[in-house]
């Protein structure tokens, strides 16, 4: 009988933090919190654990907790959307390239290599400043920025996950069970989805969770550079807004930074645990 391995504490910690972030990202608006963009002129820059503001306010009077909860919505949405779409497309292209080989594989690998040679921050920067150009006269809407940001992140993620899944799928496409499946007349589509994808999934999932972490960081970096999400609507943008006030209200910087760090670390850990728990076969040998 199968013995269930007791999971380390880290798995539960990371999992519950990620779960909490997803939850407040989805249902944060239900919580009895003030509006994130509502300024409290009576409480400018109060510290954490103040009577009406659990995590304090910024120098401009915005409630920190409400800001963080709202930031989770955008950060979680951006990271999950870009990793799910980019990872899905990348995995599909990578696995089919490994399965069919030949010229298709050659073309796919060349395109992946070209895309990988572009630094992701530079690509996002370029795309954002072209497609979501914004100045004082005609500011780009937050929605437009978010969409362009997600699109640029998808372009970055496709070759990363595509290469990982191609490399991983190559180990499986030549296994004899795939040949056996072909010899009994199973269609390529069925072989890919039934035999290759489940075996490649652990690698894709663990890299996918890593990618979620990196995407959150990229989003933060872009906001700090001033072309990400404006006005403190995401964690990175809160950080960007607060960095000038670090001397007066350090919690304005530390809290979003802490949220980013915890989420990134959790997604990395969680990815690792998911991989090792799915990889029964490897752990047996």
């Amino acid at each position: 009988m199968k013995t269930r391995k007791s999971r380390p504490v880290g798995f539960y910690l990371a999992g519950s933090w990620l779960g909490l972030m997803v939850f407040i990202g989805l249902f944060g608006w239900i919580l009895p919190l003030p509006q994130w963009d509502e300024a409290f002129f009576d409480d400018l820059g109060v510290g954490p654990f103040s009577p009406r503001h659990l995590l304090g306010t910024t120098q401009d009077g915005y409630d920190m907790l409400a800001g963080l909860v709202n930031g989770a919505r955008l950060s979680v949405f951006i990271s999950f959307a870009s990793v799910l779409i980019g990872g899905g497309i990348g995995a599909l292209i990578g696995i089919t390239a490994a399965y069919f080989r030949g010229k298709y594989d050659l073309i796919v690998v060349s395109i992946f290599n070209i895309l990988l040679s572009i630094p992701n921050l530079v690509l996002s920067l370029a795309l954002l400043s072209v497609f979501a150009y914004s100045d004082a006269d005609n500011p780009a809407s937050t929605n437009r920025r978010v969409m362009v940001l997600i699109a640029s992140l998808i372009i970055v993620i496709i070759p990363i996950l595509g290469r990982i899944s191609r490399g991983s799928a190559l180990q499986w496409t030549n296994r004899e069970f795939v040949l056996a499946s072909k010899s009994m007349g199973t269609k390529s589509f069925t072989i890919i989805f039934k035999h290759i994808l489940p075996n490649v999934a652990p690698a894709i999932l663990s890299i996918g969770f890593l990618a979620i972490g990196s995407v959150i960081i990229v989003e933060g970096s872009l906001s700090i550079l001033g072309i990400g999400i404006p006005g403190g609507a995401s964690w990175g943008s809160m950080l960007a807004n607060g960095r000038g006030n670090i001397a007066y209200s350090p919690h304005e910087v530390y809290l979003p930074a802490l949220f980013i760090a915890l989420t990134v670390i959790s997604s990395n850990w969680f990815g690792d645990y998911v991989r090792s728990s799915l990889d029964k076969r490897e752990s047996k040998i």
């Binding site: 296994r175 004899e176 069970f177 040949l179 056996a180 499946s181 072909k182 010899s183 009994m184 007349g185 199973t186 269609k187 069925t190 039934k194 035999h195 489940p198 075996n199 029964k280 076969r281 047996k284 040998i285």
Partner: protein, 369 residues
């Protein structure tokens, strides 16, 4: 050659372009696949048996691999043989002589580069994807590595259900019943093994599951690619017995690829010895073992260990390694290692000829009595 190429060449032929290289090649390919009358076949391939009920006829099969920089490895060159219903043809030879490639080429995985594979009176090499797929249930394969033959993520019941689902053989209840029957036939307890995955089994058990899977579609022919090489000796016997039982029960025709002559002797009704992609000798196991004619076969038979410590080691085993199949020797391919090689062997390629009833050898200087 794709369908489009075929069409273009047919148009070229109509227009009278017979001299073009591609047209010549096409004509040669068609010629190779042409159905032969029994007399013609007997004349061209003396070791074929056109009068018997044959499952498979392979003529001049070639498999070439492009290894880059214009180099081509001829893994199998001009191999011809036939398979009578109910027999077990053993294909033996040392590693790298093209036995496994031959087995896979018969199944068109990958397609051979030339020659004809005629299975149940249908030409497989000129079939389209769909037609070929319809032939697949009748021909199955069992592989060397039992553990790698099963998907580690699927429980045994799913592994066995796959071929049945692909071919819509009944509903879930019927499939379940069939799985239980197959597992029972393979001497496995369905209640115990159904929900387990491949890594929970030993090599022998995995091989039995593979055999059960190969039997799921009631095939006519099974190609066993070194089915017992990866197993220890006690388990080898079990698997060989199982294969024999299955053969008797389901009336199978087997191609048994192996390098182990002791195993081959136990299972086969006909033995084909291959060296560097060519057939050297073909005949019944008794003839091959007792009345060996080819020098390579003698070396192979001589290398079978005999459990007698006092027996002197046979001294006339061949030396060295087989030459590269990318650049095979001229004439007889074995001449570089053959003790009897002469000038003739380098110039003229020996053809298979009958030395005694049903025993054929491709050698200019066969071993005398």
């Amino acid at each position: 050659m794709t369908a489009l190429d075929g069409l273009v060449i047919k148009i070229l032929l109509r227009l009278g372009f017979k001299g073009l290289n591609s047209v010549k090649k096409y004509l040669a390919e068609q010629e190779a696949k042409r159905p032969l009358s029994p007399e013609e076949e007997k004349q061209l391939f003396p070791h074929h048996r056109p009068d018997s009920d044959r499952v498979l006829v392979v003529r001049n099969l070639n498999v070439e691999f492009n290894v880059g920089k214009g180099n081509v490895v001829k893994a199998v060159s001009n191999v011809s043989f036939d398979l009578v219903r109910g027999e077990t043809l053993a294909v033996v030879g040392e590693s790298g002589c093209g036995k496994s490639t031959l087995g896979k080429a018969v199944l068109q995985l990958p397609h051979p580069t030339g020659g004809s594979v005629n299975f149940l009176s249908k030409e497989l090499t000129s079939m389209g994807k769909k037609e070929l797929r319809d032939m697949r249930p009748a021909m199955q394969m069992i592989f060397q590595d039992p553990i790698s033959s099963l998907d580690p993520r699927l429980p045994v019941s799913e592994v066995l259900a796959e071929p049945l689902r692909v071919w819509n053989r009944g509903n879930q209840v019927e499939i379940d019943a069939k799985i239980d029957e197959l597992l029972g036939a393979a001497n496995l307890d369905p209640a115990v093994v159904r929900d387990r995955r491949s890594y929970e089994f030993s090599g022998g058990q995995c091989q039995r599951i593979s055999i059960a899977r190969a039997l799921a579609l009631d095939p006519t022919m099974i190609i066993c690619d070194e089915p017992v090489s990866a197993l220890d000796v006690s388990v080898q016997a079990q698997i060989l017995n199982l294969l024999q039982d299955m053969k008797d029960r389901y009336g199978l025709t087997l191609i048994f690829i192996s390098h182990d002559l002791a195993v081959v002797k136990a299972v086969s009704t006909r033995v084909m010895v291959m060296y560097l992609g060519k057939v050297c000798e073909i005949g019944t196991p008794d003839e091959i073992y007792q009345n060996t004619k080819h020098h390579y076969t003698r070396a192979l038979v001589g290398s079978v260990p005999i459990p007698d410590p006092d027996r002197p080691l046979s001294g006339n085993l061949i030396q060295g390694e087989p030459p590269s199949p990318a650049n095979p020797p001229s004439g007889c391919r074995f001449r570089t290692r053959c003790p009897m090689a002469t000038e003739k062997c380098a110039q003229e390629e020996p053809q298979l000829r009958e030395v005694s009833v049903g025993h054929f050898v491709a050698c200019h200087h066969p071993i005398a009595e």
